[in-house]
Amino acid sequence: MSIVLEGLSKRFAGRAVVENVRLEIADGELFVLLGASGSGKSTILRMISGLASCDGGTIQLMGQDVTDLAPQDRGVGFVFQNYSIFQHMTAAENIAFGLRIRGVSRRERRKKSEELLDLVGLGGLGDRYAKELSGGQQQRVALARALAYEPKVLLLDEPFGALDVKIRTQLRRSFREIQKRLGVTTVLVTHDQEEAFEIADRIGVVERGRLIEVGRPEELYSKPGSLFAATFLGAGTVLVGRSREGRAEIGPLALEIPPNMPHREGEPVRVLIRPEQVELSEQAVPDQPALGRGRVVESSFAGALRRVRLRVPRLPRTRQVSPSLPYGEEGLLIEAALPASQQIPEEAWVTLKGWSILQQPSPSLLVADPLTGVRPPVEPARPVAAALGASIVVLGVAEGPEPAESLRERLKGEFESVVSEIRVRAGHPTEQLREEQAENFYDLIVVGATGGQAIRNTPVRRFIREASTPLLFNPAREEFRRVLICTAVGEPGKSDVRVGGWLAGRLGARVTLLHISRDSSAPPRWIRAHLDQGIATLSAFDVEAEARVRQAPSALEGILMEARHGDYDLVVVGVHGPRARTVTGRDDVTLQILDSSNRPVLVVPEDSG
């Protein structure tokens, strides 16, 4: 193995940007780290080179542990997006720089730089300065410079990112050829999935500082495991159905689940359908599973192919996660790709030539105590977790490193058998909870403290306002049968419907969608429309739902009245975010509900879900 990364981690200003990355790269392999900007992929590369330090884990190059070595001593070649050719040196001098500082004789330097110039296709241009070379030529010089002293591994950070399309493809191709000829182990970072597909031996998908999935390009494209890899690596539709006797039920279809993607009976299954796996035809094709008859809603020309989006009627017990549906959309939107020459019908049967099953999604719940940090409400959270089929992560926060150790021991003793992970941090409870929320993905944070206790604590109040993950208060209920979603018209009313719907769907609960009106006249049409869209969104989560308009002098009174009246097991409210007007929360309905209700309350931030 040329490169071995073990548990590599890095934090910036208290935030984890790279977390627990494990990777082995074989000799001569061209490995591509693929991720969106800010995903931490460049940081991983810089850590391998030594330009960034590690906060945890080890790096081995050619069997040697280099974790604590300076970049000078690691023997890596690095190519930057901006070329970084030394301006006052000629191309040849740039290439020979590494040999010059190693005291190699002038004659040998000359010979080597000529060889390398030929290798990168710049023979005869050695006397040119950077400004006399085009961007593509400069990057070729940079590549030759990085190869000159025969590095153990070659690292490239978005090397083609600054070039225009035509040069980029040319350079990619010749780079790939050079890499194969020299057989030098290479790690290349890019955000461009096409580029990754074209040159990589293997691809590692990076998201939020984690290596989510690793595989050969074809494998990752046609059989991705995670939803992120599936949607990041190409277009396509992802539908969620249910697992039944080894098959995924998507409406009337029962698609086979391969044995390497085990799913628990009755649990959600995600099915990925790439655009080219969709066939459109006048008549339903026998022997091919059909999603239904669809209408073309969008069609765009893309060279040899035409991308088409079709709306098919919603299928029972089926939900769509990608492409994400606009609020109020009642059908399913299916992506298809057709030869550009083919006539696009207005309506057609949508049948599947192929599909793949993604790994079983497992929701994850964070259980934390924002007041004292040391009493996470694990017991009250367990019924919810069980109903959701979710794993529990417990967060304990202690004042300093030493109390943190003893807290870890205590939590381990109490909960080790019932939770999947115990995390302990040192610092202020809400500060650390905020950090944890920023660094990891949780579907839900369970905070046990009763709402009233919580909102009298200023840091907790601020945390509620600024949260990015839904927060569940007072969770202690054995069963959740009725869910009340209090919707406000407009933006804040959308994510609470989505998140509430998702939760109700998983809990198997009925939903009442509530609107409070201050006067007795019939609600205006746009409120009706909003509620109708809400019901449509809920039915996409396979949830039974009704809308209700209640008249009350204030939103708070109306909501409390309805909650009492209908004896709901869960009240879902939106939070208006950090823009809320006062700090005391006197006019904040969300905080007031938390204060005056002892039912479970789910607080949904504006942009979650």
């Binding site: 330009l51 890596v76 030394f86 006052h88 590494g98 410079r145 002293y149």
Partner: protein, 280 residues
């Protein structure tokens, strides 16, 4: 070249620019151009021989040489110190870095006489540190060293101001490229950063030199204005004027002005060449 033509072409014609141009000239004439001309007119009034004699007088010769020496010394020390300061301020983030960035530029804002006074209050015979040096027989004030200290203080921001922006603009990837290739910090500075800084270094050095050559306020305080010992050219001119020897004063003034013109000429040429290079 093209850009210049274009910007001129933007005006509505030659005729309309005549008025503002002549107004500008009329204002600048008594403000800048005529005083400069007057120096040369008066310097050569007694004929070239009298001018030559005035320049050749031992005191004038000392003052000119001393000024040049101090200017060279100041430039040399501040080139190193200013570049180092620029490097540290541009490449390192530390507690108080912003404040330090302001402090090192302070000398531009402080009246030079105040600088002279503060130096006396620190290093002078009754100064905070000077007091301790007296028993050792050391006394920097009223000595060439005192003049050098004053000039270093007053001209410190010029080098920094010319070098730091270049360093700020230079992406760290150049250094990082050198590191990964195997170059140490020092090698990287010598072979990668320093050549990139050449333009800033030359500009900063010329500015420092020119300012040192003309420094008056701080020098007059710390030098004691001792002829043939610490008298710089500007001090000499002032002393001659006060003594009523206008011919001597003018002659040296003319020489100083010429020197400054020469420096300015190089500065200007260098700046425009750098600009052209960048554009190319």
């Amino acid at each position: 070249m093209n850009a210049r033509r274009k910007s001129r072409g933007g005006h509505s014609g030659r005729g309309s620019s005549l008025f503002p141009v002549s107004v500008l000239l009329l204002v600048l004439l008594p403000l800048l151009l005529m005083p400069l001309a007057a120096v040369f007119v008066f310097a050569l009034k007694g004929g070239p021989l009298a001018f030559w004699d005035a320049v050749r007088s031992p005191e004038a010769q000392f003052a000119l040489r001393f000024s040049l020496l101090i200017a060279f010394g100041t430039t040399l020390v501040n080139a190193v110190l200013g570049t180092f300061a620029a490097y540290v301020l541009a490449k390192h983030r530390f507690w108080g870095d912003r404040a330090l960035g302001v402090v090192v530029n302070l000398p531009v804002a402080i009246p030079t006489v105040v600088v002279g006074t503060s130096l006396l209050l620190l290093w002078g015979p009754i100064g905070l540190l000077g007091k301790m040096l007296v028993p050792l027989g050391l006394q920097p004030m009223f000595r060439p060293l005192g003049v050098l200290l004053a000039h270093l203080f007053v001209t410190f921001p010029y080098m920094l101001g010319a070098v730091k922006p270049v360093l700020d603009e230079l992406e760290t990837t150049y250094e990082e490229a050198a590191y990964t290739i195997g170059a140490s910090r020092w090698t990287t500075f010598r072979l990668v950063l320093l050549p990139a800084l050449r333009g800033g270094l030359i500009t900063g050095a010329l500015l420092t030199f020119a300012h040192s050559l003309g420094e008056f306020g701080a020098t007059v305080m710390v030098s004691g204005n001792l002829r043939l010992k610490t008298q710089t050219a500007p001090l000499y001119i002032f002393a001659q004027f006060e003594a009523g020897d206008i011919a001597h004063a003018n002659a040296i003034a003319a020489v100083l002005a010429l020197l400054s013109f020469t420096i300015f000429f190089f500065l200007f040429r260098f700046a425009s060449r750098a600009e052209r290079q960048e554009a190319g």
